[in-house]
């Protein structure tokens, strides 16, 4: 028996993934649609799910739709747009109480699936156009969402690093789209894009909870039917290995935000992906890692300092907040720790510690329905079939030599520093 059992069924135009578990008081539905990131679609894709969740033909105002969700014991519905490697993924989620824990026996999961179907198949539209008032409101909100990145300096500096580092690659496109493209979208053009997306995107439906896979499949087959398609592949570009570059930007900030991007040249599904995960864990992923110990605990330079992987693009990002004048020192220590990794200057104990923590992190992720979906969805993005058991085993069997080998594939690409107006050059 594996740590998780996922039933996958080929449906009409999409795949249905069901995980049957009794541990939750709720059932969770996630609808995912994936397409390659591209300049001419990114903004429409960022807008589309927000229009779909604002109203439907049956619930023509947001207040009506939201009242209905409240009546379904506060069904929690939300949309999200994310980047997975060079893909842009739209998610529509509904989490609904399992009525067996209520005194009222309304079949909430069936109602939630019907509502999801209503949202994606029966939007408020006529004559080939969405309701223009809805589109206008959501365009306005999208603009604010795009702008909000400038006001959160930690997010801003992460965003700027990617923009600089991946310039010319689709991955540099902002997940919420481009401000200047929002006003080009009309109720008609968005409706055309909606039809195109549902005809061409790779579609996946996840249902997690105390449910029967057969029953969910029966319900889903009547509610969701789409044309068959061959999902489009991204033209993944690997940035050429080049000289490292340093970019400093001045703004009115009190703390410098340091973000460093590396190319790992390893992706999810690759043989040395487990070694990469261990490498990241020993280097900077946790509070026992080299970066935390050396930048924070030994030198008191920072409160936060960590590294994280982008598994589908093959990137690693280090982020920290330091005094402006400590830039050189912080970069020096971060580089020294990378050299230590490359030359194998870490112990078996550090490896064991990191294996234990990563295993713990993976198993903990399975204790939330959304975590489960995100883990399982890696396989869809990468077109591989790695079970959680394979993952855990692969990681545990990884040796020090393999970690050192992977460390030597990692190249520093770009150093980005958001510094204060008064900082010295």
């Amino acid at each position: 028996m594996g740590v998780i059992s996922e039933t996958i069924k080929e449906m009409q135009g999409y795949k249905l993934h069901v995980v049957q578990t009794e541990k939750f008081k709720t059932n969770t539905i996630v609808w995912k649609m994936k397409a390659p990131l591209s300049k001419d679609q990114v903004t429409q894709r960022a807008l589309l799910p927000h229009v779909l969740q604002a109203s439907t033909a049956g619930f023509p105002t947001t207040a009506k739709l939201r009242s209905y969700l409240d009546d379904l014991y506060g069904a929690n519905m939300f949309v999200d747009v994310s980047k997975k490697g060079e893909y842009q993924v739209i998610s529509l989620s509904i989490e609904v109480a399992n009525e067996k824990f209520l005194s009222d026996s309304t079949p909430l999961l069936a109602k939630a699936l019907e509502l999801l179907s209503e949202m994606i198949r029966n939007p408020l539209a006529e004559n080939g156009a969405f309701d223009s008032e809805t589109v206008d409101k959501e365009k306005r909100t999208l603009k604010q969402r795009i702008q909000s990145v400038y006001d959160d300096k930690m997010r801003y500096s992460s965003f700027r690093l990617i923009q600089e580092m991946c310039a010319g690659e689709p991955y540099s496109l902002p997940v919420n789209g481009e401000l200047e493209d929002v006003d080009k979208i009309t109720a008609t053009s968005l409706y055309e894009y909606y039809q195109k997306a549902f005809a061409e995107d790779e579609l996946d439906l996840y249902v997690i909870g105390d449910v029967s896979p057969e029953q969910v499949a029966t319900t889903a087959s009547t509610l969701f039917q789409f044309a068959e398609r061959t999902p489009k592949e991204s033209n993944s570009l690997n940035g050429a290995n080049r000289e490292e570059k340093t970019i400093k930007e001045k703004q009115d900030v009190k703390q410098g935000k340091l973000n460093i991007g590396y190319r790992t040249n390893v992706k999810y599904g690759d043989r040395d992906y487990y070694a990469l995960q261990l490498f990241n864990g020993i280097y900077g992923g946790f509070s026992h890692s080299k970066l935390f110990l050396n930048v924070r605990e030994k030198n008191s330079l920072a409160y936060y300092v960590a590294s994280r992987l982008e598994s589908h693009k093959g990137l690693m990002m280090v982020m920290s907040g330091v005094e402006f004048e400590n830039f050189d020192l912080a970069v020096k220590i971060i580089k020294e720790q990378m050299e230590a990794m490359k030359s194998g200057d870490f112990t078996e104990e550090e490896i064991d510690q990191t294996k234990a923590v990563i295993e713990n992190q993976l198993l903990e992720t399975l204790d939330t329905a959304r975590g489960m979906v995100e883990l399982l969805y890696h396989n869809v993005v990468s077109k591989v079939e790695v079970s959680l058991d394979d993952w855990l085993k692969g990681m545990q069997e990884t040796t020090k030599d393999e970690v050192v080998a992977v460390a030597n594939k990692v190249n520093l690409d770009t150093i980005y520093f958001l510094t204060g107006m008064e900082a010295a050059e």
């Binding site: 989490e95 930690m154 234990a356």
Partner: protein, 428 residues
């Protein structure tokens, strides 16, 4: 050990008060991989004026010391406790709020070892002048990080506006200046006063067998030599009804302005079931006024005054409470006046009826079920409730008993223009 069963929820809670006064709760979660444990003291940023253990005189300590102590408890003579937790496959953390300091771990293996580590590191302080000095740089960077965060500044700006005297107005982390005065002796004085087991609660939730875990905790605690401690004496300056400041506008490096309207709750000494009922009534009231299905939210959204950052919230502890509503907006002045008028209309009570009550109640019950999927939520909220003599598992029964009259009474009590305040963040 006492067992409390919640049949509708299919949960069982185990409880015991140990001889040294520690309250221990265990909630097994079937099917979960992880175990999550919190070890919490009823000691937070507001406890800055008190009679130290064994002394006769009251003392005032520097702002930010509870949070500083939280950081320093992780460091031991032989290194950092994070290292030990990760060797045992756990992830550990801690947080300090206005009224609590909690230490926690979660792990899917070696649960007993991790639990032992948790109890021992919290109960064996090791502070030196050198490590205290080193921490000032780290916490200094934590403070500057928050200084750059406009949402944080906005939230604390509203609280600062509300209170004249009460220490809830002080930033939890203190300032670089205030923490510069902290010494190891002060840390020991706070520690000895507030970390006695009789002022603490241990909650373990997840993949555990209650009898075994309780036995382990009992044995661990029995080995430690605690003498009985008298009730801790704390002083909170008396607080008048009016807010300290009606409005504060912060100029920051932002593109989109932000605005929050806050209401300072009238002072009250209620606790237990009465406090729970009040809290849930106010939460339902706010859902009816500002929830996504409300007329208020719909109008504000349609008028272009709010976006998805809009939120609202009510917080209360013994001695203080406040409600807030707001978010990003292109027109902070207009949003302020619209929120104020929605609130003032609600004071008359005419908006509340059986239909919106039933709907909001269903929404809250569903949200509660969703929340108790989370071991973190259960442990943290249960502890918060217990420190106020409330019971987390009474939430659904109390919700079911709330009437339209309760909502009207809650609105009439909470909403009063002299207790309104506003904080805005605007571009420089």
């Amino acid at each position: 050990m006492e067992k409390i069963a919640f049949e509708q929820l299919k949960e069982e809670l185990y409880y015991k008060k140990l001889e040294n006064g520690l309250d221990v709760y265990i909630l097994p979660k079937k099917g979960f991989n992880k175990t999550y444990a919190t070890f919490t003291t009823k000691y937070g940023s507001i406890d800055n004026h008190f009679k130290p253990f064994g002394k006769d005189e009251f003392t005032k300590v520097p702002d930010g010391i509870a949070h500083f102590l939280e950081h320093k408890l992780f460091e031991k003579e032989d290194g950092d406790v994070f290292q030990q937790f990760s060797r045992q496959g756990a992830s550990a953390n801690a947080f300090t709020s206005f009224t609590r300091t909690a230490y926690l771990f979660s792990s899917t293996s070696h649960v007993e070892k991790n639990l032992e580590t948790l109890m021992d590191f919290v109960q064996e302080p090791y502070f030196t002048e050198k490590t205290v000095e080193k921490e000032k740089g780290i916490i200094g960077q934590e403070i500057t990080m928050y200084d750059d965060n406009p949402d944080w500044r906005l939230y604390y700006g509203v609280i600062e506006n509300m209170f004249q005297q009460h220490p809830v107005k002080i930033d939890i982390a203190g300032t670089k200046e205030s923490i510069s005065h902290i010494t190891k002796d002060m840390l020991y004085e706070c520690y000895n006063t507030f970390y006695h087991p009789s002022n603490m609660l241990l909650f373990v939730v997840g993949a555990v067998e209650p009898t075994q875990i309780m036995k382990q905790i009992k044995e661990n605690q029995a080995k430690k030599d605690y003498s009985a401690q008298p009730e801790i004496e704390r002083i909170f300056e008396s607080e008048i009804e009016e807010v300290a400041q009606k409005k504060q506008v912060l100029k920051m490096n932002v593109q989109t302005p932000k605005c929050i309207v806050g209401i300072k709750a009238p002072s009250s000494t209620i606790k237990g079931q009465e406090m729970l009922k009040k809290e849930l009534s106010i939460n339902i009231m706010l859902d009816i006024l500002f929830g996504k299905s409300s007329v208020g939210y719909t109008d504000l959204y349609n008028e272009g005054l709010i976006d998805d950052s809009f939120s609202y919230d009510f917080s209360q502890e013994q001695g203080f409470g406040f409600a807030m509503a707001g978010g990003d907006t292109n027109d902070p002045e207009k949003l302020e006046s619209r929120i104020t008028s929605i609130l003032m209309d609600a004071k008359t009570g005419s908006i509340f009826n059986e239909e919106n009550l039933v709907r909001a109640r269903k929404k809250k019950i569903g949200a509660f079920l969703r929340a108790i999927n989370s071991p973190e939520y259960i442990a943290n909220q249960f502890t918060r409730y217990a420190f106020n003599d409330m019971d987390l598992f009474e939430v659904v029964p109390v919700l079911e008993g709330i009437t339209v009259e309760d909502l009207k009474a809650a609105a009439a009590d909470l909403i009063d223009e002299k207790r309104f305040t506003v904080c805005q963040v605007v571009p420089k």
